[in-house]
Amino acid sequence: MIELSGVHKSFGPKQVLRGVDLTIRQGESMVIIGGSGTGKSVLLKCILGLIRHDSGAITLEGEDVRTVERDAFLARFGMLFQGGALFDSLNVWQNVAFRLLRGSLKRPTAEAREIAIEKLRRVGLTPDVADLFPSELSGGMQKRVGLARAIAAEPDVIFFDEPTTGLDPIMAGVINELIREIVVEMGATAMTITHDMSSVRAIADHVAMLHDGVVKWTGPVARMDDATDPFLHQFITGSAEGPIEAVR
């Protein structure tokens, strides 16, 4: 279980998170929605320790993320980055098996390659992709490789940062389905950041709406459409009228 309470983060005079309280239960798929610049990515990076939060507490199964042993902590996470964040200098299978080729999870090269190819298959890619370089792949394929890398070491928690950004609707649908299937199959806890409402409906068990540095609404995805919160309502209907100021 991941618990956030009163998490604050500022960059200079700009307060991005102003006291975020959120609980993500074991095996649950939580989707964080909110407009651009509302601190969704910052929140995710604070959980991972990529950014240090100023105050408040973030715990993973009761352990404070700031004091926990980093390697063991990060070994429990997988992450799919918005742009894939594949390493240009490594080919596809080396990207997928990155964790399995070094560090505490190191395996023999042949075994790591085999696992990588199996994970590539799991995300719908054929083994002949394994020896290509990221620059030779389309955007959708890069996302799939990023997804394969995120699940390669069988993590307990998987983060997805804007998994469908930049993809056509059909490919976005395919990625959403893959994410849902993999999360259910692995029994992993998942946290997804997105603006894409079709992703929310496909991936989420629970939804949290972040606005102005705080969680405005949280609840099961089934109750999202009936919620009376004006911020959430404006966001899911995509209306320009409402409490969220739109710059025109």
Partner: protein, 260 residues
């Protein structure tokens, strides 16, 4: 009151410069501490050796060849004013191994390598590859900085040594074909006046310059701003700062080696 504005600007610039010096010093200390602590990445190190050492050889070699030739012409022209044309072989050799070999080699490698390192790491930062490394339990300092700094520190002395030989050969070519020196006498003069410390001091300078080049490339890459502009600025800053630091370090090392 308006007279105080320049003072305020000067104060801000000084503070900002001191902050950068502090960050570079911290980065240098972190690099050195990671240099001696596992895990190590031999594959990254081998790749860096190839990129920094082997692929810089043509640039350093050509620079040394033309510099050695030009040096021979200059010394001959200058020496002829007081009938000292015969010093050409010894001055070319000493000039190349003590100063021009390491400094020009360092500057050429700074142009080629510091820019490439800064651009690569800055692009990795912009595209979240550095964050990805962290989430994959890999310390970017160990994986990106240490192999490059170590490779540059070890390969630049070798590049300088090769550059010295090629530079002296450039002087020899010009001396024997254009200035009428006897080939055997030229080589005898070169060997007779060159001391071991002349060569070693140049190689030590090479190692220091290699460290500076890679450190500046990595520092500016890791601290780059966002977008294409951030990458461009990191690349420029890496080359400029590495070049200035090479010239400053060269003066300090020369002072240390030859006047103490």
């Amino acid at each position: 009151m308006i007279l105080l504005y320049p003072l305020g600007a000067l104060g801000r610039s000084t503070l900002s410069a001191l902050a950068v010096i502090g960050r570079v010093a911290m980065f240098c200390a972190q690099t050195l501490s990671h240099l001696i602590r596992p895990p190590f990445y031999p594959r990254e190190f081998a790749h860096a050796l190839m990129q920094i050492g082997w692929l810089s050889l043509p640039v350093v070699g050509l620079t040394a060849l033309f510099t050695g030739g030009a040096l021979a012409l200059q010394i001959y022209a200058g020496g002829s004013r007081f009938n000292a044309e015969s010093v050409v072989p010894s001055i070319v050799a000493i000039g190349m191994v003590r100063e021009l070999g390491p400094v020009l080699g360092g500057l050429m490698v700074a142009g080629r390598v510091a820019s490439a390192i800064a651009a690569e790491i800055a692009t990795m930062k912009v595209t979240e590859q550095i964050d990805a490394l962290v989430t994959l339990s890999t310390n970017p300092m160990k994986y990106l900085t240490v192999p490059r700094v170590l490779a540059a520190t070890l390969t630049l002395p070798l590049l300088v040594a090769v550059g010295d030989i090629i530079g002296i050969f450039g002087g020899y070519l010009v001396g024997t074909t254009r200035l009428g020196f006897n080939p055997v006498t030229y080589l005898d003069n070169t060997v007779d006046f060159l001391e071991l410390w002349d060569v070693l001091s140049g190689l030590v300078k090479g190692a220091v310059f290699g460290f500076i080049v890679a450190l500046m490339g990595c520092f500016h890459g890791m601290h780059s701003g966002r977008g294409a502009r951030g990458v461009g600025r990191a690349t420029t800053n890496a080359v400029v700062s590495a070049s200035i630091m090479i010239l400053a370090a060269n003066y300090l090392l020369t002072e240390l080696f030859f006047t103490a």
